[in-house]
């Protein structure tokens, strides 16, 4: 009879550290350098070479999973959102572009049929 009882679970997985909007905002296009980025944000999680230019990626992901299982039926929802920043440097390692998206905090525990904010 115990196995007939419904079971549910909630799980949260994060990767890396949350990004700081204030630190990202302190980097100025045309002025800041790769050294400034290292000082403010630490080592990037990825570097992509773009010819003589380069692009650095910083990210933090937040996944929330909610599940419900009864006998043969399993319902599962996973909502993953990321904080992400890309910094573009020219051949002299001066910042030529920076873009950030901070939405990791908005991930939700939900069921597969339920509405999720922002969608």
């Amino acid at each position: 009879m115990l196995s007939l009882l419904p079971s549910c679970f909630l799980a949260r997985t994060t990767t890396n550290e949350p990004l700081s909007a204030e630190r990202l905002a302190a980097l100025k296009v045309g002025q800041s350098t790769a050294q400034d980025a290292l000082t403010m944000l630490g080592a990037p999680h990825d570097v992509v070479q773009l010819g003589r230019r380069s692009a650095w990626r910083y990210d933090f992901s937040n996944s929330k999973r909610a599940g419900f299982s009864i006998v043969v039926v399993t319902l599962l929802n996973e909502d993953s959102r990321s904080d992400r920043a890309w910094l573009f440097f020219d051949e002299n390692l001066v910042l030529i572009g920076a873009g950030s998206t901070l939405q990791a905090d908005a991930s939700e525990f939900a069921m597969p049929w339920s509405e999720v904010e922002g969608r």
Binding site: L50, G51, V72, T74, N77, R81, P112
Partner: protein
């Protein structure tokens, strides 16, 4: 009473070899069309793209100073039925029937060596990426 017990027993036995699942996987929020429809190829710059769309999901080189910024999001729904039938003590035969909607939609912005938006394509991200991706190249001075 015995019929009920038989039904419960059958259900318990089924739970070991049959499973039905309904899964939804969401990844990041979709861009709104008004965010990228305002970007004009030939006029918009790298800074404009980053200001309007934020950080891309991926960046890759296209050669000769050109590169691509990919923005993507997922909303996958999977309805699955899995059946596993034991055929020996140690092995079992099983098959899966899944109706999988595996779509990662997104847009890819192609930028020139002068950091201007050349074009913008919308569709399944993995297809757009597969068509355009290349190995990084070494440029002589």
């Amino acid at each position: 009473m015995s019929a009920r017990l038989t039904a419960i027993g059958a259900l318990l036995l089924c739970s070991a070899c049959v499973s039905v699942s309904w899964e939804r996987k969401l990844r990041d929020l979709p861009l709104r069309p008004e965010q990228y429809q305002q970007l004009q190829p030939g006029a918009a710059t790298l800074e404009d793209v980053l200001a309007k769309l934020g950080a891309p999901l991926d960046v890759w080189e296209l050669g000769h100073g050109r590169f691509a910024l990919a923005y993507g999001w997922e909303q996958n729904r999977e309805l699955g039925l899995s059946v596993s039938v034991p055929v020996t003590q140690r092995r079992s035969a099983n098959f899966d029937y899944d109706e999988i909607n595996l779509h990662t939609y997104g847009i890819v912005c192609f930028l020139s060596a002068e950091l201007r938006l050349e074009s913008l394509e919308e569709g399944r991200l993995h297809e757009l990426r597969a068509m355009q991706r290349r190995r990084p190249e070494y440029e002589e001075n």
